[in-house]
């Protein structure tokens, strides 16, 4: 059964590797999966910013952002926080198990358009998952971009995702810079302590020829947007990615709209100039 004829039929994907990014009740687990069908594996194409419906037969599906960049290889990565019924079931999966995947859905970050510019990502908590493919994509094509700056924070060190990768990124200072933060002081933490919007002001990036992309909790996004404006960023230079409850992923089931915009089709990536016109987007 091909998913071209019936977009609701998922593909099976084998879990190759899993690890925990964070622990606790709302742990975040990362899955690296490959499609079991060779044809699907070869023909699948996605771009940074797109999402997929992943799930477990007998339980259901959730829309999750693809946290790997196509530049990394013929696999997909998903970082999933254990929150509800479906993510609970996904967390049970171990290497060798299968999950269902359909998609990719939505639009993407216009990375082609951004060539020659400085890229600034500002993430909070699990919000780094959709930003990670940008970081990986720009790193793989670093000569096409002027600079890469990553600002990322979480409540505590235990809530930080992709720790090792971000530490590694700090090492190669010639191409990029990476600034990490936690909200509350912890022993052994040598980086910034405070909220992400405050760290943004500390880093003080120049808006000149820069694109800023932010994702995180709504409250963080609100203050990041305010601070970006203070730093002199124009609306057109700011992007974010939204999430809403979704069922179909293809603009039929109705629920993911923010005003006239369907997050599954018109988004999830939105320019701030567009989003500003849609009050429900910040509800």
């Amino acid at each position: 059964m091909s998913n071209k004829e019936n977009p609701y039929i998922p593909h099976m994907a084998k879990v190759e590797d899993t690890w925990y990014e964070t622990h606790g009740e709302r742990a975040i687990k990362t899955f690296r999966v490959v499609f079991e069908d060779e044809e699907v594996k070869e023909s699948w194409e996605h771009l940074p910013g797109q999402c997929a419906m992943i799930g477990v037969l007998g339980v259901g599906e959730s829309m999750i952002s693809i946290s790997s960049s196509p530049t990394e290889g013929k696999f997909l990565r998903f970082s999933v926080m254990r929150m509800g019924k479906v993510t609970q079931a996904l967390h049970q999966l171990e290497p060798g198990d299968s999950m269902t995947v359909r998609g990719p859905y939505g639009n993407n970050f216009p990375l082609e358009e951004w060539k020659g510019k400085k890229i600034l990502t500002i993430g909070g908590g699990i919000g780094q998952a959709p930003l990670r493919p940008i970081v990986e994509y720009v790193r793989a094509n670093i000569n096409d971009y002027q600079d890469l700056t990553v600002i990322y924070g979480a409540r505590t060190t235990n809530d930080l995702c992709f720790k090792q990768e971000l530490e590694d990124l700090r090492e190669c200072q010639e191409v990029s810079s990476c600034h990490l933060s936690i909200d509350i002081e912890e022993e052994g933490w040598s980086h910034f302590v405070g909220f992400v919007p405050t760290l943004l002001m500390e880093v003080n990036p120049s808006p000149e020829n820069t694109i800023a992309i932010t994702c995180g909790p709504p409250i963080m996004i609100k203050f990041v947007l305010e601070n970006l404006k203070k730093l002199g960023f124009e609306d057109e230079q700011i992007y974010t990615t939204l999430e809403n409850r979704m069922k179909c992923g293809i603009g039929k089931c109705g629920r993911c709209n923010a005003g006239p915009l369907y997050v599954c089709k018109d988004g999830p990536v939105f320019n701030y100039a567009t989003l500003k016109q849609v009050p429900e987007a910040f509800a």
């Binding site: 059964m1 004829e5 019936n6 977009p7 609701y8 039929i9 998922p10 099976m12 079991e36 037969l57 007998g58 339980v59 259901g60 599906e61 929150m83 509800g84 993510t87 299968s98 709504p218 999430e243 809403n244 409850r245 069922k247 179909c248 293809i250 603009g251 039929k252 089931c253 109705g254 629920r255 709209n257 923010a258 005003g259 006239p260 089709k265 009050p279 429900e280 509800a283």
Partner: protein
């Protein structure tokens, strides 16, 4: 196009001929209301007392619950449900057929929805013109008419002792062909039917001038009117479940033993859970936002995408609301106050 006449004396054989050729859906009395159900063989069932169906015939093409695929738990094989049957709907009101035309666009928007389109392509609709419009009808405000043929395959008009039938599509001509033995050729009944329709248009009491509503809905997003018009709302969802253009659905897995199926079912933007995130965050947290979404979807969002209002003026949401929320009152206030 073919024009036929059905003598009411031949009603039973007409219905039987349709039912022999296809799965026949028919307005059936269920307690105090009419709803569409597969024809049970009761050939005496006529349309004499039927005014309109409280539940629209959308269920024929978008079942209230529909199996999308089947599987065995623990297995990776997915199988599709049985192919859908060829169907004919007898006695749909013209507004309900126009509604199908509106919903068709959503299910073909960029990506085809195979379940809906298979059903839709295999369904023929015989519409019954409204000689006596219902109290809350306002189809004429939305480019409709008691005799509109949009979305229909055959238009049927009650002429007293007989029906006049006119095919609108090739599918309609084939349907009339199936029931040929019960029909006679028309001779001038067409103009009589036109007159009845024209007269019926004059009997429609309610109306709204839709000019400018789209723009006002955009400008008046934060207006206090939304608090006021939604205050009485119970969140029961009747307005959406019974709306012929409402098509939103949920998708759920159902498991019994090892037999699993993924199915979809009607859902409603008037329910809090519809938009509730797992985190507890809800972008439409109260009935105010949900009411605004219901009206805005029909009179603004859909219009922006498909250049057409997603309401046919059937009046069901008015008639069925337990607290008398009236979409025409809301729309007039939108026009006056925003």
């Amino acid at each position: 196009m073919s024009e036929k006449v059905l003598q009411k004396a031949n009603w039973s054989s007409f219905v039987q001929a349709l039912a022999d050729a296809r799965e026949l859906w028919f307005p059936v009395k269920d307690g105090p209301i009419y709803k569409f159900a597969p024809y049970s063989g009761d050939v005496d069932a006529g349309l004499e007392e039927y005014a309109y169906s409280s539940v629209p015939p959308k269920a024929v093409v978008l079942p209230q619950t529909e199996t999308m695929f089947l599987y065995q738990v623990g297995d990776k094989e997915i199988s599709l449900p049985e192919e859908k049957k060829e169907k004919v709907v007898l006695g749909a009101r013209p507004c309900d057929a126009r509604a199908m035309d509106i919903v068709d666009r959503v299910f073909q928007w960029d990506e085809d929805d195979p379940y809906y389109l298979e059903n839709r392509n295999k369904t023929a609709v015989i519409g019954l013109a409204c000689n006596e419009p219902f109290v809350n009808c306002f189809c004429t405000s939305l480019d409709g008419s008691p005799g509109s043929t949009q979305g229909l395959d055959v238009l049927m008009v009650d002429l007293g002792d007989k029906y006049y039938l006119r095919s609108v599509t090739d599918k309609g001509s084939r349907i009339l062909g199936d029931a040929e033995s019960a029909l006679e050729d028309a001779s001038g009944e067409g103009s009589q039917a036109e007159e009845i329709i024209k007269e019926a248009e004059g009997k429609i009491k309610r109306s709204i001038d839709t000019e400018g509503i789209r723009e006002k809905l955009e400008e008046g997003w934060e207006a206090p009117l939304w608090d006021e018009v939604s205050r009485a709302c119970l969140g029961c969802g009747a307005c959406t479940f019974l709306c012929p253009t409402c098509h939103c659905f949920d998708i759920q897995d159902e498991v019994e033993g090892f037999d699993g199926r993924r199915c979809r079912m009607w859902d409603s933007c008037m329910f809090g859970e519809y938009t509730l995130h797992t985190s507890g965050h809800n972008p439409r947290p109260s009935r105010k936002e949900r009411t605004r979404n219901r009206i805005s979807h029909k009179y603004r969002y859909y219009v922006e995408k498909f250049d057409k209002i997603a309401c046919v003026g059937c009046g069901r949401c008015i008639t069925s609301c337990p607290v008398n929320i009236d979409i025409l009152d809301i729309l007039s206030r939108v026009k006056e106050e925003l």
